[in-house]
Amino acid sequence: MKDILGLVAKRLGLGLVTLLVVSVLIFFAVELLPGDIAQAVLGQMATEETLAQLRLEFGLDRPAVVRYFDWLAGAVTGDFGTSLIDGEAVTAKITDRFINTLFLAAYAAVIAVPFAIALGIIVALLRNSIFDRVANVVTLTSISSPEFFLGYILILYLAVKWSMFPAIASLSSSMTFLEMLERTFLPALTLVLVVTAHMMRMTRAAIINLLASPYIEMARLKGAPPWKVIVRHALPNAWAPIINVVALNLAYLVTGVVLVEVVFVYPGIGQLLVDAVAKRDFPIVQACCLIFAATFILLNLAADVGAILTNPRLRHPK
């Protein structure tokens, strides 16, 4: 048990360090800006006085390292500064939208994860059958399609032609939960399509990879039926890769959401980020990037910890 705790602690520490390095990267990338933020905000028409004044306002007279720690301390306590465009607090702008994004990602994940793993196992069981081949072609096609392609196809058929679901996924606080589910069905479905294909293929690969092991042959020679070979002998050893697949795809969900949000005009953090990039509103860009990166790192961390916890060699040391 001590080994496991040690490994998990080490992995957590590594994740924290990575996050710190990423925060450095995000902050100092903006420092690479030709000129500085004040110039970027004011553009060509800036005079020396207005520039100097704005620099003072942003605290640009202080060294970058000091400003980094200020920014980091603020970020940890939930304060990401103010927007360059309208002077509003970044945190206030982000909070609701981040919740919306998480809602959409969770919606897609709840459908996609069980569905994909079950399908992956079935396809592994039926490998080389027609069903497997068709699934292979369909999932490959789904993975290869850009999210906006899938999104627009769904809009064209399910919203415009057959009017089954709304094309625009706007939310308001007065909606009931069911209404929200209906409104966000199309963006969620788009995400489900992409992510399920990925997860299913990787689950299949993880299981089939194990089927060449001698202990699988042993199980067959002990007379175990095919389903038992997969469920009892391959699956317990495939958990680590499968957990990895799930985490990877959840992480992908949270970021893949950007394009989908734009397609469906969904009020999430992704759309905010895209707007901020176009307007060069750096505090918002930095905040969004940090949040996305943190989610991503957290999920990868969870996957690694999960892989450690399901490894029988580590769970039962000598």
Binding site: S145, P146, F149, L156, V160, A167, A251, C289, A293
Partner: protein
């Protein structure tokens, strides 16, 4: 009951009987289950549903036929060693090669194939297709078809350059890390970890917001974002080769690193690296398409598939499929490359249980 429906069922049942007579179990099961499914479809969806099935089957058959012919063509044209490999290619892979071939032709000869220039305004906005314009006009009145042809050159070309750059950076770093080991290996591994811990699209957005949407910025950023993937794979593949006794023998002989990489390691890792190049291209292509779609990729008036989707997106709400065409062009190429890669991965993984 229309003649179409009668013909439809007659054809299916005849084909099922023929398959059954020749004891082709798979074909029979496929055809006959299609017949049974058609009963349900016919009742629920009526004639249009059956027509849809027919069109779909026709397209599938056409694609299969083209792929088959193209594979035969390649087998005839290529050297015996490559031809032997090609014979093992499934139809999907042949289809992929055919699509890639078509795109390459379109991209290379774009100015000769396209009837108009990519930025030439020739009609009013959103004009429907006519004799001059195969696919109609876009939001500024430019020929959609010409822009799609030019898009093959611009979008695919940009992705190709970025992929090559990512590959050169990643593969070189991976090979050197595998050979050198020690702190260099550790360091490059950590750098790769950090880059990969920022989601790719987010990373690209961050950098583009700072440096603007210059073409070179896009190429470099995308290359940096995807090189860690290449690095990891190369490192893993080369790592398996480096532990071989023949590499140890070469080291103990006193050979330099470059000789080890060039003569001992690279020849033994080409197959997975070529497959990875295809995969990598798909990722890069989709990322750049995504950026363009967000308005942060190739800037107008240069034709680019991602931005064409965005520019014409309003048509969707009128039930017009025009904006889907460039999106489909993106999807088709990625699918094609993936089909080929799938086959190559299968080949290089040997014929172990699949």
């Amino acid at each position: 009951m229309s003649m179409f429906v009668i013909g439809y069922y007659a054809a299916l049942i005849t084909a099922s009987c023929i398959a059954a007579y020749f004891q082709n179990r798979k074909a029979f099961m496929l055809l006959f289950s299609l017949t049974l499914v058609s009963f349900v479809l016919g009742i629920v969806g009526g004639v249009p549903a059956l027509r849809g099935v027919t069109i779909f089957a026709g397209i599938l058959a056409l694609a299969a036929g083209t792929s088959y012919a193209f594979r035969e063509f390649l087998i005839q044209v290529c050297s015996p060693a490559i031809a032997k490999e090609l014979r093992t290619a499934p139809l999907t892979a042949a289809f992929g090669m055919f699509v890639i071939f078509t795109y390459a032709i379109a991209g290379i000869f774009a100015p000769w194939i396209a009837p108009f220039d990519q930025s030439e305004v020739i009609a009013s906005a959103f004009e429907p297709p006519n004799e001059d314009m195969l696919l109609g006009a876009d939001q500024l009145g430019r020929d959609m078809f010409s822009r799609i042809i030019f898009g093959a050159r611009n979008s695919v070309g940009l992705a190709l350059v970025a992929t090559v750059l990512a590959f050169v950076i990643g593969a070189l770093a991976g090979l050197y890390s595998a050979v050198k080991g020690g702190w260099l290996d550790q360091l490059s591994g950590r750098v790769a970890d950090v880059i990969m811990s920022v989601p790719s699209l987010i990373f690209a957005l961050l950098i583009l917001s700072i440096f603007g949407t210059n073409l070179w910025v896009i190429v470099v950023v995308v290359a940096i974002i995807y090189s860690p993937r290449v690095f990891r794979l190369t490192r893993a593949v080369a790592g398996n080769v480096v532990v071989m006794d023949y590499v140890e023998a070469a080291r103990l002989r006193g050979e330099g690193d470059w000789h080890l990489i060039r003569k001992e390691i690279l020849p033994n890792s080409t197959a997975p690296l070529i497959a990875e190049f295809g995969l990598e291209f798909c990722f890069v292509f989709l990322l750049i398409a995504g950026l363009s779609f967000l308005g942060l990729g190739i800037q107008p008036p240069t034709a680019d598939w991602g931005s064409m989707v965005r520019e014409n997106a309003t048509l969707i709400s009128f039930g017009d499929i025009t904006p889907l065409i460039p999106a489909a062009a993106i999807a088709l190429l990625t699918v094609a490359v993936n089909f080929v890669v799938d086959w190559m991965l299968f080949r290089s993984s040997g014929l172990k249980e699949q």
